[in-house]
Subunit: 366 residues, 2 copies
């Protein structure tokens, strides 16, 4: 039972394959009667066009590729990894949605730590463009890829080669957060829970945090490094709780997952949040508003990020309307209770509505 081809359709409808092709692609230049005969044959034979052949002939695959990095190869660590990937999942979803809107499909490939970038290279020959997420390949590889294929780098430094970059305004979000903690709450001693050095976002966030704190006269009294997972936050929280010296008055976690771990340990060990220590996150994942206390954090539009990457890719390959080689999406401060706002450490009438506490500009905070 070979899959039917246009030859089968042509025979069935008593026309040539060219006519079949025209009927299928809704081209003009054939009578409606002929078209109807072809379409009837399509129904009868259950024909589905061969996308491979179509792509080869047409010169475009109508798929775009997305390359993401995974942090572990170890199956036993899969759930750990799961934790830190939530953000990427949202990006993928947004990209798929955006691609489908123009009839494109999304081809997914993940790159494991030491696996090289062959998977990304391979996608050059199977897609019309590539989105590379958060350092999934090296800078050299990125350059190589961008030289011969439309490439969007997601969560990346400013473009060095032919690629275009889409990212969020980490620096702005971080500044809003620090300004809030220092100016509104008067905290002068801050602790920072960093993310993995391999992440672009993580790096910009803590650098900006240190700079802004210094500029506002606050001190960084402690720095810890996690891997974006809740369990790493838990580990760090425990070492803070049981370590010598008192904890910092406010603890900035560079993503929400790690804040979740920290909050959990602090609750167990009787450290009051925000009474003893204010805790903040970054990302605004779904559960953040359901934690106790609800987490003050910085929202980044992860789905929109993926969607924007895809539309930018289209613009890049069409050569149309590409305003800039670097697209920066806004971040916003979401003030809930873990910083000490909205009633502090215990339950209030209701939580903040999701994403409602908009702080549009830096001036709007201070």
């Amino acid at each position: 039972m070979r899959a039917p081809t246009i030859y089968d359709l042509a025979e069935r409808a008593g026309v040539s394959i060219a006519t079949v092709s025209r009927a299928l692609n809704a081209k003009s230049g054939l009578s409606s009667a002929t078209r109807a005969r072809v379409l009837a044959a399509v129904e009868e034979l259950g024909y589905v066009p061969n996308g491979t052949a179509r792509g080869l002939s047409y010169g475009a695959t109508e798929t775009i590729g997305m390359v993401v990095a995974t942090r572990t190869t170890n199956v036993a660590q899969a759930s750990e990894e799961h934790e830190s990937l939530l953000y990427v999942d949202a990006v993928i979803r947004g990209a798929e949605r955006s691609a489908q809107r123009t009839g494109y499909a999304l081809l997914l490939a993940s790159i494991r730590p030491r696996s090289g970038w062959e998977a990304a290279k391979k996608m050059v020959g199977r897609t019309d463009g590539l989105v590379i997420v958060d350092r999934a390949v090296s800078d050299d590889a990125m350059t190589w890829l961008a030289e011969r294929h439309p490439v969007v780098a997601l969560a990346w430094d400013s473009p060095k080669g032919s690629e275009i970059v889409v990212r969020i305004d980490n620096a702005h979000g971080t500044r809003l957060l620090i300004e809030h903690l220092v100016r509104e709450h008067g905290f002068t001693e801050l602790g920072i829970v960093r993310g993995p050095a391999s992440s672009f976002d993580a790096t910009v966030r803590w650098r900006t945090a240190e700079e802004t704190a210094a500029a506002l006269g606050a001190r960084i009294v402690g720095t810890w490094t996690g891997d974006f997972s809740a369990s790493s936050g838990e580990r760090i929280g425990r070492s803070i709780a049981s370590g010598p010296g008192r904890p910092p008055r406010a603890l900035l976690c560079m993503n929400d997952q790690m804040a979740v771990g920290v909050l959990n340990v602090f609750a167990q060990d009787g450290i009051s949040v925000p009474g003893d220590v204010a805790v903040t996150g970054f990302d605004d994942i779904v559960v953040s508003r359901y934690l106790s206390p609800p987490l003050t954090t910085v929202r980044q539009p992860a789905e929109e990020l993926g969607a924007t990457a895809v539309t930018s890719l289209f613009e890049l390959s069409n050569g149309t309307g590409l305003a800039s080689r670097e697209v920066v999406l806004p971040t916003e401060l979401v003030v809930r209770s873990s910083c000490g706002c909205n009633g502090g450490s215990r339950a209030r009438a209701r939580t903040t509505a999701p994403h409602s506490a908009r702080v549009a500009t830096l001036d709007g905070v201070g």
Copy 2:
């Protein structure tokens, strides 16, 4: 700057395109000197094989397609949707990992509520097999697809047509949970928070819950229906808290997300969990062990589910080693505190280690 083809390579290396192809595909029948010349040309020209052409000629695309359903078209509801999709994300990740292990790529397509199944149909012509997740297409469509393409149905009823089915043992997990609540805790009045009727998993879970409760002599004193999102759980929790009559002694939520919403509302309204009401979930998402109280739930191996779907698909298309047309993955009870175990409503020394509270068989519980 056209992408180099094997013709360019052939010219550069001074050989024919057949030789180039053989060199690239590591076939035997050519001298190592010739092979080296070809591979050198590959490096010099930065050649990447055209996957489309290769697929057409070779007769296989080396990609497998995954079709998922999204519940909303509305952009404003995107974050709601996000909530209920976490499970699918894990499935996708597992599938991608499994596919890549054999050099396959994953092509993703989502189907929106009223969009028809054209997207799925289209994938037939672009993949070597399809995984259809949780009722993304109708039964008729499934049959149509499975008749002409290798298809795995994920989270589906037993196979009716040519498809094979991979799912988790919802019934077993649900029974374990109910037996625990009724026999261990002696709860006789249960409430149920259902998931959407469109979900296979959701339906099996509440049906089994009702049957098992009846069999054990417990009563279902209330039923609510959510959509698997935390906010729907919140809405239901609020109506329970503020409604007439007292809440059920134990509330079974058919997924963790809804339990998160319920816990949040109960905390706000001063309803003690598990003191006043025991609350349980289903799925064991990452944050469940970090909630207060940590959530008693049923773990299902979402990533493994995706991975198994892909390997089953390979077996189906190879015709090798397909033991059964229906693969059922085990679920396990994860006992934490929200049911009243492990110290009840307040913090303990530490939370349950992730996924450690294994209850392998039904007999192991009672």
